[in-house]
Amino acid sequence: MFKEQGKKALTCATGLTLYNLLLIGVYPAISKSEVMAELSVNLPSSVKRVFGVTSGSGIDRFESYISSQCFGQVWLFVMGMYTIGTADALIAKLVDQGTMAYLLSAPVGRLELLLTQVAVLVSGLALLMVLTELGIWGEMALFDIPIDVWPYFRLGILGFALFLAVGAYSLLFSALFKLEEHAILSSIGVTFVFYALDVLSGLNDRFSWAKNLTLFGWVRPQEVLEGELPTNQTVTLLALSAIFITIAGFIFEKKDLHV
């Protein structure tokens, strides 16, 4: 299980790192381009928001460029798919396919089994974040772009906490539903709603309340990279993850498993 998920995390991290290599590689050219600078300033703030630029500046600053590109939609999409896919593979898929029958035939408690699966999810996410961060640091060194390492580190932890929370409610659905399809659809549905609320909150001040209703609203890569400390957000996301996992454990322990 660890081996299989490790491979998957490695593949995702390699993909993200190569993608980031491309983005960071073109940054020096973009930052010097007057057209780009003008464009970034003139873009409506709602459009910039959708692309991950949350504070006033344009994409001529490296932090805002990185947050909108390396920690933008592609990152969210890859991390989201990895997390939901893993949470599904760890319980719902095993139950649906019947493989869980073998694991359950051993004298191991269901809670212990679930916690092992949580450990697989946590280590996979951690590996993915660490590799992506190392990739970004390496690429910055390669293109000679000076950065302050700590904000990136903090963003890494916050990103990990965000996707752990996504993984935790996906795991909850994975334990709750009888059919794998229902588990996946619910996880994707909820994640999509959270994402949509986050985008909505940035479009117009009238919708800024929506930010509080979504996990993604607590993660503002650009602000963290510019030096803001995301301690509260990280702790809240970790606490939420713990709550989701506890509920998942409670359900999995009591549930009839037709394997």
């Binding site: 299989e4 396919q97 029958a101 359950l104 004298p107 009839d256 037709h258």
Partner: protein, 308 residues
Amino acid sequence: MINVEGLTKLYPRTKDQTKGKETKRVRGISEVTFRVKEGEAFGFLGPNGAGKTTLIRHLMGFIRPEAGFAQISGLDCWQNSRTVKALVSYLPGEMNFFEQMSGLEFLELMSGMHGNQPIFQKRRELLGERLNLNLQQPIRKMSKGMKQKLGIIYALMLDSKVLILDEPTSGLDPLMQKVFIELVLEEKKQGKTIFISSHMFSEVERTCDRVAIIRAGELVTVEGIQRLRQAQQRTFEITVSDEREVELLRERGLAIVSAKGTQLSVEIQGDINALLSGLAQVKVQAFSQKTTELEEAFMHFYEREGGL
């Protein structure tokens, strides 16, 4: 060793295909009661969908009974499932392993989960040789029969006191079925309690002492294997050399259910010696046993308990 009393678990049948409504028909099991003694081999026989797997899920503590209970070695299978599973080896009916692992990796994982005793490895190697399975092969490359062998190795390597085997010989060729029967008989000699569920009488016939027959979720009968053998109805398809011989066989009192030219079908209940001595008088050109469904072979049991 295994004690099942009044065990009930009913599910509403999934939506009716034609009307799109939920019907009142239920599936599952209803008030199933039986006991399996220590060291006994017990067959659990029933057509597909009769509730065999539901009963096994209770024994393994996968599902909680609505009423009644299942116990193994005096322990409740739901409440004490962890302790119960330390006593039990289980071969599931469906062979769904971790496809990306090799056979050996899977067995090592399961050995670890069962506490990794040195005897597991010894038995695993012996069983691998007897069943002629290359454990290094990735599971996704294995045929259905190979996966079945891997499942059997898993269940038998643990050296547990109780074996619960769900349709253990499905997918095995006749030679390997024979090896499996030998293995089960060896386990029985060591005093293990064996529970085999099947939809074919032949699968339990050579290994089990007693057999329970289940139909539509209800236990129809629990009988000794000898009595069931006597009760089993079999049909033989025979071709003789000319029509006079068909008459000769009829005169000997054989139950000829159909005859067309020199081909005839004979129905036998229990002892086949009358048939064999009859056939000794004629020139037999072809002889085969017709495969009969479980319900057909034991129809009178079902009829006695309220009809089909």
